[in-house]
C-alpha cells in the first residue's frame, strides 16, 4: 500500500488515481526487510530452541525459580489439559452426549465438557501445590539445576558477533550513519 500512499516526487507508474512513487517503493522495501528480519528471527528461535531448555537456562542465569516454574508449568499444562478434556469427552459420550454432527450440535456438546475440565483442573491445584511444598518448593534462594545446556565455542563466538552487530547498529543509528525511515 505504501508504494501508492507514500508521498514522493519521482512517479514510477500510475494506476487509476494512484501514483507509485520511488519514495514509496523505498519505504515499502525497508518495511518488508524489517518485517522479514523480525519474523525470521522469531521463527528461527522457535525452530531451534526447546522452550524447556530456554527457561532452565534463564533460571541458571538468574531468573527466579518461581517464574521459571510458572513458565514451565504452563508449557506442561497444555498437553495435560488436552488429555483431560479427551478423557472427559469420552466419559460424557459414554453417557450419551452427542459431540458429532453439525457445528451447532458440536457447540451444544461442548458446554457439558468445559465445566468438568475447568473444575477438575481447579480441584487438583490445591493438592498439587501441597505436593510441591512437601518437596521444599517454597525454600528461598536458588535451586540446584542438574543440567547445563551445551554451549560450544562457535556458539559463543556467533553470539558475541551478533551482540557487536547490535551495538554497532544502535551506535550507527545514534550517530546518523543508519538514518531512520523517512
Amino acid at each position: 500500500m505504501s508504494v501508492f500512499t507514500r508521498a514522493g516526487t519521482t512517479v514510477l507508474f500510475t494506476i487509476g488515481p494512484f501514483d507509485a512513487t520511488l519514495q514509496g517503493v523505498d519505504f515499502a522495501g525497508q518495511t518488508l526487510v524489517r518485517l522479514l528480519a523480525i519474523s525470521t528471527a522469531i521463527g528461527l528461535f522457535g525452530l531451534t530452541t526447546e522452550p524447556r531448555s530456554f527457561v532452565l537456562d534463564l533460571e541458571r542465569r538468574g531468573l527466579s525459580p518461581r517464574f521459571a516454574f510458572v513458565a514451565l508449568a504452563t508449557l506442561e499444562a497444555v498437553p495435560a489439559m488436552v488429555e483431560r478434556a479427551s478423557v472427559i469427552a469420552s466419559a460424557q459420550r459414554a453417557r450419551g452426549l452427542d459431540t458429532e454432527g453439525s457445528i451447532r450440535a458440536r457447540l451444544r456438546g461442548l458446554l457439558p465438557l468445559v465445566g468438568p475440565v475447568i473444575l477438575s483442573s481447579l480441584t487438583e491445584v490445591e493438592e498439587r501445590s501441597l505436593a510441591l511444598e512437601v518437596r521444599a518448593f517454597g525454600k528461598p534462594g536458588r535451586r540446584q539445576l542438574l543440567w547445563r545446556i551445551p554451549d560450544s565455542g562457535a556458539q559463543l563466538a556467533v553470539r558475541s558477533l551478533l551482540m557487536l552487530a547490535l551495538v554497532a547498529a544502535i551506535a550507527g543509528r545514534l550517530t546518523g550513519t543508519f538514518p531512520a525511515l523517512p
Binding site: 521459571a68 495435560a80 487438583e124 501445590s129 505436593a131 518437596r135 521444599a136 528461598p140 540446584q144 542438574l146
Partner: protein, 272 residues
C-alpha cells in the same frame, strides 16, 4: 519422633471439627498403619500430622505437633519438608508438572533444597533403585500409567530422605507386585530410622509391614495396638474395615474348631 497431642482440627469454612482430640506418636523406625471407613478422618489426620494443616491448608488446629522435639508451629513449609513428607493418593497431583523425565521428577525435591549435584544425583539414584524404576528414568512423567506414576511419586518423597513419612493410600493404583515393592521400600526406609504412617485400605499390606495399627472413626482414634491384635479384633468389621487375609483365615479356621494355637503356628510358619 513425631508427636501429635490433643489434635482437634476444623477445615476453614466448616462448622464442625473433623478430628477430635487425637493423640499420635510415631517412634523412629516405626511403621504405623491407619485404617478406618470412608470419611473417618484418615486424610485429614495425614495432613495434620504432616504439619500441612493448618500451615498450608488453613483451618484451625487445637493441640500440638512436635517433630524430633521441635514444635512444628514455628516452622516454614520448606523446613517442615525436610523433616516430614506426605504423599497423596492421586498420582497426577504428585507430579511437579515441570520435569521432562522421571529422573528429574524424582530429583526435584533435592534440587529445591539446593543440595550439591552429587548429593542430589545420589539421593535420586537411591530412590530409583529402592522402587526399581531404572527402566522409567528417561520417560516423560506425564506418560506413565497410574501405578507407575504412584511409584514415581513415592520415589520423589524418598529422595527427600525424610525423618518422617506419611502416605495417604500409597498403593491405591498399584497391582500386587507394585504393592509388594512399595512394602519393601517402606520397610527399608524404616530400617534407616525413619518413622512412617500409612493410611491404606489394603490391610494385607499393613499386616505385612506395620508394627502397630490405628483405627480411626468419626475423627477419633478408636483402636490402637499391635498389628495382629487390632486386625484380630472383632470390632473391626463393624467399623467397615476388612481384616487382612491372614486374620480372616485364622478366624475362619478357629470358628470351624481348629485349635487357635495350631492356627497361629501354621500362619506364622507360612509367613516366615
Amino acid at each position: 519422633m513425631l508427636l501429635l497431642e490433643g489434635a482437634t482440627y476444623r477445615y476453614a469454612g466448616y462448622a464442625t471439627e473433623v478430628l477430635h482430640d487425637v493423640d499420635l506418636r510415631l517412634d523412629d523406625g516405626e511403621i504405623v498403619g491407619l485404617v478406618g471407613p470412608n470419611e473417618a478422618g484418615k486424610s485429614t489426620l495425614c495432613l495434620v500430622a504432616s504439619g500441612l494443616a493448618p500451615a498450608s491448608v488453613g483451618g484451625s488446629l487445637k493441640g500440638t505437633l512436635t517433630l524430633d522435639g521441635t514444635p512444628a508451629a514455628g516452622l516454614e513449609t520448606h523446613e517442615l519438608a525436610q523433616r516430614v513428607v506426605v504423599g497423596f493418593q492421586n498420582p497426577n497431583t504428585q507430579r511437579s508438572g515441570i520435569a521432562a523425565t522421571v529422573f528429574e521428577e524424582i530429583a526435584i525435591g533435592p534440587m529445591n533444597l539446593g543440595l550439591p549435584v552429587t548429593e542430589t544425583v545420589a539421593r535420586t539414584r537411591e530412590a530409583i533403585a529402592r522402587l526399581r524404576l531404572e527402566h522409567l528414568v528417561e520417560r516423560d512423567p506425564q506418560r506413565l500409567s497410574g501405578g507407575q506414576a504412584q511409584l514415581v511419586g513415592i520415589a520423589a518423597l524418598l529422595a527427600m530422605r525424610p525423618r518422617h513419612v506419611i502416605l495417604d493410600e500409597p498403593t491405591a493404583q498399584l497391582d500386587p507386585a507394585g504393592t509388594h515393592l512399595v512394602g519393601e521400600a517402606l520397610r527399608a526406609l524404616a530400617g534407616t530410622g525413619a518413622s512412617l504412617l500409612i493410611a491404606e485400605h489394603k490391610t494385607d499390606l499393613l499386616d505385612e509391614v506395620c508394627g502397630r495399627i490405628i483405627v480411626i472413626d468419626g475423627g477419633r482414634i478408636v483402636l490402637d495396638g499391635p498389628t495382629a491384635a487390632v486386625f484380630d479384633d472383632p470390632r473391626l468389621a463393624e467399623l467397615g474395615v476388612e481384616p487382612p487375609a491372614r486374620a480372616r483365615l485364622s478366624r475362619a479356621l478357629v470358628e470351624r474348631g481348629v485349635d487357635p494355637a495350631v492356627v497361629g503356628q501354621a500362619i506364622a510358619s507360612a509367613a516366615g
